[in-house]
């Protein structure tokens, strides 16, 4: 497996999505093949993650209606008349969807929170990385709080009458219970000398593997664009 840096992964993501969106006709299949090859070499788990019922259903929803309603039904497949143009169009849409899903899956699956935060800081979104770190770390605690508050209100008949008031109460209680931890986080950040202005953005570094992979995708993308 080839290990890419964050910069390389961003490059692969951008080129892959551009290829998926711009390529049409038979070129869509070639774009998909290029993205599958890139994912297989850099983050194979992304390929396994698209092999699930949800993605298959999505692809089916793109392909099947197109086969029946995408044009004149001129071909019989196992006794069922379908449209040749529709099947071609549906396959093209499915390939495009799969290209984008694999590209995003490979990017998101291989990126750590720290890398993503650094990337966002580099993109000029100051403080977003810190807020995201807080959000990810607080997620289990916030989920527990919301669940406990919901059950406590439900057991006390909070949603039986005046449901809107119950919903408002649920929101207020959950927010206040979650924000109780906020002061501790602020104190901890200040004690460690954290300041939004002093956050170091992710350094841009290109490795040989990054250049090779992004270059290969660029060549394929350029060839598809010129074809």
């Amino acid at each position: 497996m080839i290990a890419l840096s964050t910069t390389g992964r961003v490059g692969c993501l951008v080129i892959s999505i551009a290829m998926g969106v711009v390529a049409g006709g038979v070129r869509t299949a070639l774009a998909l093949a290029a993205v599958v090859a890139c994912a297989a070499m850099t983050h194979p788990r992304a390929l396994r993650s698209v092999a699930n019922l949800r993605v298959v259903t999505l692809l089916g929803l793109l392909l099947i209606p197109a086969a029946f309603f995408g044009g004149a039904r001129d071909v019989s497949v196992a006794g069922v008349w379908v449209s040749r143009d529709g099947v071609f169009l549906g396959a093209q849409m499915a390939a495009r969807a799969l290209t984008i899903l694999i590209a995003i899956g490979a990017f998101a699956g291989s990126l750590s929170i720290a890398e993503l935060s650094g990337l966002l800081e580099r993109a000029g979104l100051r403080g977003l990385g810190f807020a995201m770190g807080v959000a990810i770390n607080m997620l289990p605690s916030v989920t527990d709080t919301a669940t406990s508050v919901y059950h406590a209100l439900r057991l006390r008949g909070g949603f039986v009458r005046r449901r809107l008031r119950g919903l408002r109460l649920l929101l207020v209680t959950t927010v206040i219970a979650s924000l109780r931890h906020a002061e501790d986080i602020v104190a901890a950040a200040e004690a460690r000398g954290f300041a939004v202005d002093r956050v170091r953005p992710l350094p841009l570094a290109w490795r040989t593997a990054d250049l090779a992979m992004v270059g290969a995708l660029l060549v394929v993308g350029g060839a598809l664009a010129l074809w």
Partner: protein
Amino acid sequence: MRYSIRELVYVGIFGSLWGAIEASLGSVLHALQVPFAGLALSGAGIAIALTGRVLVPRTGAIALIGLVTAFVKMLSVGGLVFNPMIGIVIESLLAEAVVGLGPFSRVTFLAAGALATAWTLAHPFLTGGILGGQGFVAVYVAMLKSAARFLGVAPSAVVLVLGVLLALHLGVGAISGVIGWDAGHIARDRLQPPRGGPL
């Protein structure tokens, strides 16, 4: 606009709350194929983001909460959530735009919630366009025509159904906006130290 550490922590917590709703309630609703699951999630999320806007009174706070939520969703479900991520970001941007343009009032929050939640109606067209390109639209227009012929539905009935759908989305969004405004103010009052300060 520079945020203080406290404001960023608040943004993170509200993003986490919206993300928790998307990850837990969203998974259940989608798995059970509950109708209007997207509308329910959008309404709940916008109410949370608008509550956050009361507690973080800065321009861009709703958009920031939406961005954090989108990334939380991406990281928590494994990356195959491109469409919901786009939806969350656009809804938060719409709410941000309305709150930014209007006066800071309950009516503005109502309008922000309504507009943001109404996006769930338009969302499939955008994501369909991204995933399928122009061909997707052409296929579905053809499919709609065939279905209309098959069902014998008059165009006026389609208009009626669309009108009811739009009213439903706007109504749920408006309620979310009002709940967000009220909840935000109640939470702000309760979080403030008592007058006279601690002993």
